[in-house]
Point group: C2
Chain length 360, copies 2
C-alpha cells in the first residue's frame, strides 16, 4: 500500500492507494473514532457495483450506515440534490460525531463533501473515489461544491476529508471513455510541476491505458503527492494553488457553454490544456517542441485536442470565463507554462489572444 | 463609538457600536479594500426602512451594490431562498473579492452569512444587525446557517464577518415584542458569565426598555465582549462555546415543535432559560433565591416564562431535542448554572428530569 500524507496542521490526513481498499472501509473508519451512525453518499451507477461492499464493510465494523444514491451525472451536483441528502441525514439522525462516506467519482465526492461541510456546520467525511479523475484530483485537497445554472462549482466550501481511500480495483470496471478522461488530470501534473513525471507518462502510457495495477499505483501516488504538496502550501488558493487550474479556465467555460453532458470534465480540460499550452507558446515562451509533446501525449491518451466553435459559441465561452471564480474585476487570469514542469499563474491575457486560440 | 475587538488570528474583526453607523456603511467598507461589486441581503421589511440608506452609502463610497430582499420571517432561512440569493450574486457577477452586506435581524444575518460562506467557496461579508437580538448575538461569532424541515440551523458553516456595525438608531423603530425578545439573549450573558452585569440589568431595566441610547450602548457592548471572549477561546464549539447555548436546547425544541412563527426566537429561549434554570436548581445547586431573581428579570422584561404542554407536545419537544446538533449518540447535553454568572456545560440530564421541568 502507498500512503501519501497531506500536511494541513490539525486537519492533516492520509491518502491510501492499493487494491482491495473498499473492503477495508469499515476498519479504516473505525481507527478514526467516529460515531456509529454514518451515511454513504454515492450515485445509482456506483451503488450498483460497489454499494453493497461498502455497506457490509461498515456494518461489520460496527457502524450503522444509511446509503443515499443520487442520480448519476453532473446534474446531481445541485442544491436540490444537496437538500435531499440533508433530509436523509436528519431522518437518519446523524449527529456531529457521525460521518459521511463519499463513494464514487467527482460528482459524488464534491456533493458529499459539500454536504459534510455544511450539515450541522460540518461533520467528518471520508473520500472513496472510484474513478481515475477523482483519485488523482477531486478527492484530494478539500474543494467541495455544487453547480449553479450560471456555472460549475459556484457554491461550495474548502473542507478537508479525514481520509482518502483509492482502491485500484474500482478503476478496472470504468468505461474506457471515463478512464481516458481521468488521464487529462494526470498529464496536467506533469505539465505544471514535474517534467520527469511527464516523460514517464510518455514512456509508460501503454501500460497505464491497459490499467496495469503496477503501472497505475505509482502514477496515482505521484499525482496525489503533487496535489498534496501544492494544497499544503496554499490551501485556500491565495496563489500557488491556482496552478492546479491549468487548462481549467477555458475548459470549464467550454463545459459550461456546451451544456453539461456534452463533454466529460476530463475531455473539456484536455481541450482547455491544449488551448492553455498554445497561449503559453504565444505569450510565455513555451518552446514549440514542448507544445508538440503536450499535444501528442493528450492525443495518444485518446483525448480530444481541438474543438470547432462558431463566433457565437466563442463569445459564449468568453462570457463564461468572465464569471470564472478566478476572475477579478472582469479580468481573466491564466496559468501558463514556461516549460513542461514549470508554470506561472495570475497572468492576465488580452482577450484577443484568447479568441485567437479559440479560433484554432 | 464603542469598539469591541474579536480576536481570531487572521480572521479577527471589530464590532462597532454607535448611533448613525448605517449611514457610514460605505466608508467603513472602503477601508477594508473589498472589490467594487457587492450585494446587500436583507428582508422586505428592513429594506423598506433601511435599504435606501445602505445602498446610497455604498454607492457614494464607489461601490456597485445590488439589493436582494428576501421575504421577512424565519421561513426565508431555507436552501430555496439561499439558491435565489446565489443566482442573484451570479447574475450580478460577484467575484471572490466582492462582498456581501447582511442587513437586518438574525434571519437575514444567518442566511446572508451562509451565502457568503459558500458562494465561490467564501467571499467577505459585513454584518449590519438591525435588531437587538442580532446585535448582541447572531451577528457575532460566525455561526451562519439555514433551516431544514427537521430542525433549525441544521445546515450551515462557521464563517466570520469582516466587520459588524451595530447602529443604535435602528433599534428605535423595532416593534416592542421584537425588542423584548432580544432582551432574552442579553439576560443570558449575565447568567452564563457575569453576575455584576446581571445585577446591572436588574437596576437599569427601565432605561433599557425605554431604549435610551445611553443605557443601550454599554449593555450591547458588554454582551458583544462576552460573546467575543467566548468565541475567541473556542470558535468551533469544542467546549466552552456551548455555554452560549444556555436555554437553547429546550428553547430550540419548543420553537421547532410549536412550528416556526408561534414564538419569536427570544421568547422561546426565554422559556428555555427558565426551564434550564429550574433544571440547574434541581441538579446543579443553583440556589432558590437566584432562580427567583432569574425568573423575575425575564418577567419584568415582558418575556414568557412558562408554557403549557400536553403529554403529546412534551414528547414532541423531547424528540426535537434528540436531533439537536449538541446531542451525541442520542444523549442530550445541557448547559446548567451553578450560580448566576457561572455555568457548567456538557451535563447529561436524565430524561425524567427534563420531562418534569416541561410539566411545570
Amino acid at each position: 500500500m502507498r500512503i501519501v500524507p497531506v500536511h494541513l496542521g490539525s486537519r492533516s490526513y492520509s491518502i491510501k492507494i492499493a487494491p482491495g481498499l473498499l473492503r477495508r472501509l469499515g476498519p479504516e473508519c473505525a481507527v478514526l473514532k467516529f460515531g456509529r451512525r454514518c451515511a454513504v453518499i454515492t450515485d445509482t451507477n456506483v451503488a450498483r457495483v460497489h454499494g453493497a461492499i461498502a455497506r457490509r464493510s461498515l456494518i461489520r465494523a460496527g457502524f450503522e450506515p444509511v446509503l443515499t444514491a443520487v442520480r448519476a451525472g453532473e446534474k446531481a451536483k445541485d442544491l436540490k440534490t444537496a437538500q435531499d441528502c440533508y433530509d436523509r441525514l436528519a431522518a437518519h439522525r446523524l449527529e456531529r460525531g457521525s460521518f459521511i462516506v463519499a463513494l464514487g467519482g467527482g460528482v459524488a465526492g464534491d456533493l458529499a463533501g459539500f454536504v459534510a461541510a455544511t450539515y450541522l456546520r460540518g461533520i467528518p467525511f471520508v473520500q472513496v473515489p472510484t474513478t481515475l479523475l477523482a483519485q488523482v484530483d477531486s478527492s484530494v485537497g478539500g474543494k467541495t461544491g455544487v453547480n449553479l445554472r450560471a456555472g460549475k462549482n459556484l457554491v461550495g466550501a474548502f473542507y478537508q476529508p479525514r481520509l482518502v481511500l483509492c482502491d485500484l480495483d474500482t478503476l478496472q470496471t470504468l468505461p474506457d471513455r471515463e478512464f481516458r478522461a481521468g488521464l487529462a488530470e494526470v498529464i496536467k501534473y506533469g505539465i505544471i510541476r514535474d517534467a520527469a513525471f511527464f516523460a514517464r507518462l510518455e514512456r509508460d502510457l501503454d501500460g497505464i491505458l491497459r490499467r496495469r495495477r503496477t503501472a497505475l499505483a505509482p502514477v496515482i501516488a505521484r499525482c496525489c503527492e503533487i496535489k498534496a504538496e501544492v494544497v499544503a502550501r496554499d490551501e485556500k488558493e491565495g496563489g500557488l494553488r491556482s496552478i492546479l487550474n491549468f487548462g481549467h479556465t477555458i475548459g470549464h467555460a467550454i463545459e459550461n457553454s456546451a451544456g453539461y453532458g456534452t463533454f466529460l470534465h476530463g475531455e473539456a480540460i484536455s481541450i482547455g490544456q491544449i488551448a492553455a499550452a498554445r497561449l503559453s507558446h504565444a505569450v510565455s515562451g513555451l518552446p514549440e517542441a514542448e507544445l508538440r509533446r503536450i499535444v501528442d501525449l493528450f492525443r495518444r491518451a485518446g483525448l480530444p485536442v481541438t474543438i470547432s466553435l462558431n463566433s457565437r459559441q466563442r463569445k459564449k465561452v468568453l462570457d463564461a470565463m468572465r464569471l470564472d471564480k478566478k476572475a477579478r474585476d472582469g479580468e481573466i487570469k491564466f496559468v501558463l507554462a514556461r516549460r513542461i514542469g514549470r508554470v506561472e499563474w495570475g497572468r492576465a491575457v488580452p482577450e484577443q489572444s484568447i479568441m485567437e486560440v479559440l479560433r484554432r
